[in-house]
Subunit: 281 residues, 2 copies
DNA sequence: TCGCGCCGGCGCG
DNA sequence: TCGCGCCGGCGCG
C-alpha cells in the first residue's frame, strides 16, 4: 500500500477516506474531460489511482456519483455559457440542505407548502422524494440572476464549488414557467435503483399539475423530467417510461410518462449532444 | 482462509459463491429462528461463518435479502397454518419469472393487459415496478387452493422450496377481492433505496383503482401495501407515507398513502405480531 | 450526530 | 446470457 501522503486522502481513525473534490482535481491536474476520453474510463483511472491507498468499494461508489455529476454539470454550464438562448441545468444539494420548492417565488412556494399541509392533515400523508440531481432553469431567470455566464475552462476546486453552489442564487427567483424540468443522473443503473427515478418524476409532475390547477393556468409548458447514465439498455428505457400514475386514473387525461427521456452520455461529446437537445430552444 | 469444502460454497472460476438456501439450512442445522434470537443477529452469525471463506460483501448483501425474506415467510406461513381465518402472505419471484397479474382470474388479468396496451399505445408508456416481495392472499382462495396448510417446523431445503414456490398454485385463481395486498421487505433501508417501495405501492394502487372503475365495483376493500424492515426510523416512516399520486390530482378523491404501514420486525416475536396484525381478520 | 443520496458486487433461473 | 432485485459502505454538511 502506498504510504506517502496525498492531499485527497484523509485518515480518519485508521480508515482512508476520499476527499472527492480534491481527488478529481488533483489527480487530473484540473484537466477538463477531453473529447477522446470516456467518463467510465476516467472513473476507472481515478479508481486505479486511489484504490491502492486502502480505500474501499463503498467509498469509490460514493465518489463515482459526484465525479460523474460534476463532469456533466460542467458541460451543462458551458452549453449555457456558449449559447445565449440556452436554459441552464444546475446541480442541487440534498433535500435536507435545500427544499426544492424554495426556488419558486414565495407565492408558488406557498401553494406547495399548503398542498403538503393539507395532504398531511388528511392522514399523516407526506410528499417525499429525493431531490433531483439537476434542475433546469429557464434562460429568463438565468439572465436576471447570472447575467454573465463565463465558460469553465479548468476542472478546479473553484469551478466545482461554482457548479455545486450556484443553485443558491436562484432561491425565490423562479416563476412557475421558469423551472423547466429536472434531470436524474446515475453513473450506473440496476433494475431496482433505476425505479427511484420514475418515483421522483411522478411526484414532481403531480405537484406541478396541482399548482397548475390552483393557479388556473390553462396551457402550461409542462415540466420535463430527464435521466442520464453512462450506459443504458432496453429494460432501463422501458422502466423509466413508466406512467406517472396521476395521469391514468381518469379517462379524460392523457397518460404521461414519469420520465420523458433517458439518455446515455459517456463522453463530453455525448453529454454536449444531450444538453444541446434539452437546453437549447 | 478455510479450505475444507462446505456444501454451501460453490467455486466458480476462482470466485467463492454462496449457495443461499443451502447456507442457511446447513449452517443452522435446519433450526427455526428461536424466540430469543434477532434476525440481524442471525444474519451476522451467518456472515461470520461464511466471510472467512473468501466471499465478498456483495454476495453477503445479496444473501441477506433472501435469508431475511425466508425467515419472515416462515412466520407468515405458520400464522396462516395456526389460524384458520388468517390470510396468507406468500413470497413472489421476480417479474421476469412471473407476471403478477396472472394471479387474478383471466377476466381481471385481461383488464390489466388491456390497460397496459392502451397506455402503451398513447406514447410508449409502460407500467414497470419490481414485483413486491410478498402477496397477501385472502383466506377464501387459500382454502380452495391449499385446503390443508401444515405448519413448518424446520427450516429445511424442502421448507424453503415450499415458501418460494407456493405462489404458482395460485395462478389464475384469485378474484378481485382475494388479493388483499402486498408487502415489501428490506433487511436494511437507505434514504434512496427506500423510495423503491412507494413507487411499487403507488403503481399497484393505481392499477387497482383502474380495475375498480372498469368493473364498476362500488365499495371495494382497497388494496393494502405494507413494508417490513429489521430497523426503522422516523425518516423512513415519513418517506413511506408518501402519497400515491393518483389520489391527489382531483379535489374529489381523498389522498391516500402509497404504503399503508411500515413495520419493524427483527425477531420471530416481532414478526408474528406484524403478521397477526395484517393477516388476521 | 446522523440524514442524504451515492453505486457496485452479487445468486439465481 | 443477462435481467432481476438484493443491500452495505460510503463523503459530506
Amino acid at each position: 500500500m502506498e504510504m506517502q501522503n496525498v492531499p485527497y486522502i484523509r485518515m480518519n481513525g485508521g480508515r482512508a477516506e476520499v476527499i472527492k473534490r480534491d481527488a478529481i482535481t488533483h489527480i487530473r491536474g484540473q484537466a477538463l474531460p477531453a473529447d477522446h476520453e470516456t467518463y467510465t474510463g476516467i472513473l476507472e483511472s481515478l479508481d486505479n489511482t486511489i484504490r491502492p491507498r486502502g480505500v474501499g468499494q463503498g467509498a469509490l461508489s460514493n465518489a463515482h456519483g459526484d465525479w460523474y455529476e460534476w463532469m456533466l454539470a460542467l458541460e451543462a454550464w458551458n452549453t449555457a455559457a456558449n449559447n445565449p438562448d440556452a436554459d441552464l441545468a444546475l446541480l442541487l444539494p440534498n433535500k435536507r440542505r435545500f427544499d426544492l420548492s424554495r426556488l419558486y417565488s414565495p407565492r408558488i412556494c406557498g401553494i406547495i407548502t399548503d398542498l403538503r399541509n393539507k395532504v398531511l392533515q388528511t392522514g399523516n400523508i407526506s410528499f417525499v422524494s429525493s431531490n433531483p440531481d439537476f434542475v433546469i432553469l429557464g434562460r429568463s431567470v438565468v439572465d436576471r440572476v447570472i447575467p454573465h455566464l463565463n465558460p469553465i475552462n479548468m476542472l478546479s476546486n473553484d469551478a466545482i464549488d461554482t457548479l455545486d453552489n450556484s443553485y443558491l442564487e436562484f432561491a425565490d427567483q423562479c416563476s412557475f414557467e421558469e423551472i423547466k424540468g429536472y434531470i436524474s443522473v446515475k453513473s450506473s443503473l440496476r433494475p431496482d435503483r433505476r425505479l427511484q427515478i420514475p418515483h421522483e418524476g411522478s411526484l414532481m409532475k403531480a405537484v406541478y399539475v396541482h399548482i397548475q390547477t390552483r393557479e388556473w393556468i390553462i396551457n402550461p409548458n409542462g415540466i420535463k423530467y430527464y435521466a442520464i447514465s453512462t450506459a443504458i439498455n432496453d429494460s432501463d428505457i422501458e422502466a423509466l417510461n413508466t406512467v406517472a400514475t396521476h395521469s391514468i386514473t381518469t379517462v379524460s387525461s392523457v397518460p404521461q410518462a414519469a420520465v420523458d427521456q433517458l439518455f446515455a452520455a459517456n463522453s463530453p461529446v455525448e453529454a454536449r449532444a444531450v444538453f444541446e437537445q434539452i437546453l437549447l430552444p
